[in-house]
Amino acid sequence: MSLIVAEDLVKKYGRVVAVDGLYLNVEEGAITGLIGPNGAGKTTTIKIVLGLLKPDRGHVEVFGQEPWDNPYLRELVGVVHEKAYFPSYQKVLDYIRRVCRIFGIPEARAHEVLGLVGLEDAYDRQIKALSAGMLQRFAIAHAIIHEPKLIVADEMTANLDPEGRSLLLDLVVNINKKEKTTFLLSSHILPELSRVCDSVAIINRGKVYAAGKLSELYEKYATEIIRINVEKPEKLAAELEKLSYIENIKTDARGISVRTAKGEEENLYEDAAKLAKKAKTKILGIETGSASLEELYRLVVTNENKKV
């Protein structure tokens, strides 16, 4: 089921066409990345999805409903804006408790989410006194507090240090695994998205150039990396490293990205299954992919620009 369906969206700011006939589908349970350079139309698309902008043409539905001025959807959707602002003179804990009361959830949840994002020491700080990174964490806590079914995040890792970004992306994966929460993440930092996204929509000049599951896009545009989604990546990685034909192996919260010597891909499939059993872990899926999402993005954009 698609939680977000956007069809033929057009949005202009005077002469500037920010979104130009955009189609987007975000499947339930997926972590979808909306990737593109600055000025591609990501933020405009997200604002239309969130009901903050009306498109000049086209149609968008979230959970099958129009997002404009729709309070029902707010219970189901959490939002992290590119630049988040909150009533600045209130204290961190006080405001998060207020948000609990807004959504009708126990105030104990406030402590829980602030702990998840690492703001336990900032309870009594006024929101205006938070650093940019802390404010971003606060925005994330604010987005997840009511356990929404869909989280839309625009440049969520902006202003965070590398450790913060890593923690946050792991949090995204964990929430997706545990709560089956759907994510739409917009970013121009492709290595980060490649770690967490199942699907991507590559957007440039207001259009989606390509969209779909990462594996399908890799298959279509490039085939060099094998992606193994596994329950315990570290354990399987430790076994795979012993194989002679493994050229490169990268582990993250979701799985392992493996580059093999040419022609050894089939061997890897067999060996991975055996070694997973040995490591007592379960393989959730194996996909082939390109060397990186950045390369995929470049291949897609180059390909589409050639058509034009």
């Binding site: 969130l50 903050l52 707010r74 602002y85 009533p87 003179y89 209130q90 405001y95 009361r101 126990p106």
Partner: protein, 267 residues
């Protein structure tokens, strides 16, 4: 995690949040002090003219109101332009739009804090001062008192409604405040020009035009029909029409703001 049995209270919480921002220390204390100071300074130095007790009541109210109503205008300008305007500029309104609440309810919460609370403080201090000064006159002529306040507040609300429209359009707190100040003085200049025309021509129509947005002039002419438009003495019913008309105009302008905020405002 289980949700509580009761649904959330988004309207009350956003109203409470806005109150906390608009009247944080020392804003509430400062403006209350200015209202009180302005009221009792005028008490000390004014003598009350009028032939009838009704005219005395009218004069007492208008003399007490002079400085405090200016403070009231400053406070609502601050709350609308600097409060709501900054929320639009910085994006706090985007955050409110992520809560389970209709846009009109968000705007209502903001305006209740910006205008209604300021008005309640203003009226509370004013009417308390009046009861301290002359309880018999005020009790017997409470209708005159309320009509006088309504006529004067109508103009303040008109300014607030125009400022709100400007703020929603420009979405910049500082710029909206500048526009509001220009508007205030521009209307003053227009008032002055129309008053001069009334004086020169000896006819009442310029004052009648001003009275549409500032019905206090009609009330003044009703009680003391001298001066620049001495020929115009509106009846009590006419004054009520002017006051009602001014409030109707204010209601229309606020309605336009609501429609814009709910249907057109993009962030």
């Amino acid at each position: 995690m289980e949700k509580t049995e009761h649904k959330g209270k988004p309207f009350l919480e956003i109203f409470a949040s806005t109150l906390q921002e608009d009247y944080r220390f020392p804003i509430l204390e400062l403006f209350t002090f200015l209202y009180t100071l302005g009221t009792f300074i005028f008490v000390s130095f004014q003598t009350y003219g009028g032939v009838t007790n009704e005219q005395v009541a009218y004069t007492m109210v208008t003399s007490l109101m002079g400085f405090p109503i200016f403070i009231f205008i400053i406070l609502i300008f601050k709350n609308i332009a600097y409060g709501l305007g900054n929320d639009l500029e910085k994006g706090t309104i985007q955050t409110f739009f992520s809560y389970p609440l209709k846009r009109r309810s968000i705007l209502t919460a903001k305006l209740l804090s910006a205008i209604v609370v300021a008005l309640l403080i203003f009226l509370g201090i004013q009417i308390s001062a009046l009861y301290l000064l002359a309880p018999d006159i005020i009790s017997n002529y409470i209708g005159t008192v309320l009509l006088t306040y309504s006529a004067n507040i109508g103009y303040s609300l008109f300014l607030a409604a125009v400022l709100l429209l400007m703020t929603l359009k420009v979405k910049r707190g500082g710029l909206a405040l500048v526009f509001g100040i220009i508007l205030y003085f521009a209307i003053g200049v227009v008032n002055g020009i129309l008053t001069v025309i009334a004086f020169v021509t000896g006819s009442a129509w310029p004052i009648q035009i001003i009275a549409v947005i500032n019905p206090a002039l009609a009330l003044q002419q009703h009680y003391f029909s001298t001066g620049l438009a001495g020929s115009w003495t509106p009846s009590f019913n006419e004054v009520l029409w002017y006051v009602g008309g001014a409030f109707a105009l204010v209601a229309v302008m606020f309605s336009i703001s609501y429609v814009y905020f709910c249907r057109r405002l993009s962030l």
